[in-house]
């Protein structure tokens, strides 16, 4: 056990020494790895916050059921009954006269209305569904339109649905970007370690000849990949936090213009943890691959 720990400590020490042995190379690698991790992570954070800025919208989602002009009291009762049975959420009845009154409150409209011979508005039910997932709202609207004396069903916030699709496309693109850059990170580590193995061919051969196991030979490289990825992750987190800091005052103004408040989330300790974790994992993976390809198994 003691020896096991000593071996790991010494491999770890070797890895740290390698990081410092060629500072320029290490810095270049960290920039590449940091950028590769920061770009997709930053895009993800921006997307998440965009969705939240649009966040109030889904709750305001409404479905309007416009009744046929032939509908009478009995038809309204029927719809009310069905709405009550369906447990869809909040709803209220807006008689055509009430709708007209509200319309009149808007400037310039009374003049237009005055020229009309009679109230052109239909009676309506306004439903605020409990479940605001776009596909559920869509389904509800479809159901409503099949009910008797319902002439037209209108989704008041289709733009939310469009935004949702847009966000999903965005997320997919970020996922592709992340895979691409994750691959780049693995390749960078793979190549760095290939060069190290070449440079240390003598030492590796000699160590094997006098009793080094495969694990002993591989361990420093694995630690190196792990450490370099971890530092790259830290660098990425620093880049993102710095960028957010620089942008925040400008964004404050912009968001204030739309009556919102800039309270970004995703810029926290969990981000640092995630980036270092992913960096370390991918670095270790690159090292593992490089070692498997470039280090022949002993004797």
């Amino acid at each position: 056990m003691r020896r096991f720990l000593t071996q790991h400590a010494s491999a770890f020490g070797d890895a740290v020494r390698k990081l410092f042995a060629s500072p320029l190379g290490t810095i270049l690698s960290l920039i590449v790895i940091g950028t590769a991790l920061a770009l997709p992570a930053a895009s993800g954070i921006i997307l998440d916050n965009l969705r939240d800025l649009a966040g109030g919208a889904p709750k305001a989602q409404q479905i309007s059921l416009f009744m046929a002009s032939s509908a009478d009291r009995r038809a309204f009762d029927e719809i009310e009954l069905r709405l009550r049975m369906a447990h869809v959420g909040n709803w209220r009845f807006v008689p055509r006269d009430e709708a007209l009154e509200r319309l009149k409150a808007i400037e310039g409209v009374p003049e237009i209305l005055a020229s009309l011979p009679k109230n052109p508005l239909p009676d309506a039910f306004i439903v605020e569904p409990e479940d605001v997932r776009p596909e559920m709202v869509e389904n509800l609207a479809k159901t409503f339109s099949s009910w008797p004396e319902v002439e037209h069903v209108q989704l008041d916030s289709e733009w939310v649905r469009r935004l949702d699709v847009f966000l999903r496309i965005g997320r997919l693109m970020i996922l592709m970007l992340a895979s691409l850059f994750g691959g780049a990170l693995i390749i960078v580590t793979f190549n760095t370690i290939r060069l190290q193995i070449l440079a240390q061919a003598d030492e590796i051969e000699i160590a094997r000849l006098i009793g080094a196991t495969n694990a002993f030979v591989r361990r420093p490289f694995q630690y190196f990949g792990f450490l370099q990825g971890l530092l790259g992750g830290l660098f990425a987190a620093a880049l993102i936090l710095l960028g957010a800091g620089l942008l925040s005052s400008t964004l404050d103004e912009l968001v204030a213009l739309y009556g919102g408040r800039w309270a970004p989330h995703g810029l926290d300790f969990a981000l640092v943890g995630r980036l270092t974790g992913i960096g370390a994992l991918l670095g270790w993976l690159g090292a593992q691959l490089s070692v498997a390809v470039h280090l022949k198994k002993g004797a």
């Binding site: 003691r2 096991f4 000593t6 000849l209 006098i210 009793g211 002993g298 004797a299």
Partner: protein, 220 residues
């Protein structure tokens, strides 16, 4: 302790370097393997250290048949030997003591204990005052002694040396032989391959004479 039976090695190119060789070496023996250049001494050294596998026959070291040894067991077998290679295989980008520390790093000895043992080993070969020396500043004899220090630092029961006195002047060679005598006296089994045995006689070792891959005779 070491038992070879009908041991043969044919290299892929078709050269039969060792042919049907049988011998026994007991614990604490001092054995010199002699023969002209090309006789098969280095091949025998490499078979003993499991660097090469026998083509046919068997070679048993401490109860393990090297012909059938699992790959994963080879590093641990090698640790029971102290190996002094014909070309020494020292690391010239490290100083003297770092070279001696390598075997202990491999087995995971704690740093302070390793340093203590490395100094003791350097002391035994008379290099304690050169522990920080760049290897390029060491003479041929000093490099050879450093190679021996690295071989013995983990206190192996068998010391295997390939041409340890070749290219050394008479004084240096005598110094190396004195070191071997000292290890022999504390019970280490010594196996030394050399093409130049005439001045070895004063150690009065047992001699295995190799010629074209066969043992011609064994005396001593």
């Amino acid at each position: 302790m070491i038992r070879a039976r009908a041991l043969s090695k044919r290299y892929p190119q078709g050269i039969d370097a060792i042919k049907e060789v049988s011998f026994d070496i007991g614990t604490g023996e001092m054995v010199f393997i002699t023969g002209r250049s090309g006789a098969g001494k280095t091949t025998l050294f490499r078979l003993l250290a499991a660097i090469e596998r026998p083509t046919t026959g068997s070679i048993i070291v401490n109860g393990q048949n090297l012909a059938a040894l699992r790959k994963s067991a080879i590093p641990f077998l090698r640790r029971s030997f102290g190996l002094v290679f014909q070309d020494q295989k020292l690391l010239f980008d490290r100083n003297a003591i770092d070279n001696v520390l390598l075997p202990m790093k491999i087995v995971g000895l704690p740093a302070n204990e390793a340093l203590r043992r490395a100094r003791a080993a350097l002391d035994k070969v008379g290099l304690l005052n050169r522990e920080k020396a760049n290897l390029l500043t060491l003479s041929g004899g000093e490099q050879q002694r450093l190679a021996i220090a690295r071989a013995v630092v983990n206190r192996p029961s068998i010391l295997l040396a390939d041409e340890p006195t070749t290219n050394l002047d008479a004084d240096s060679a005598a110094g190396i032989l004195e070191i071997f005598r000292a290890f022999h006296q504390v019970g280490v089994t010594l196996i030394v391959a050399t093409h130049d045995p005439q001045w070895v006689s004063r150690l009065s070792p047992r001699i295995l004479r190799l010629d074209h891959g066969r043992i011609l005779g064994s005396d001593g």
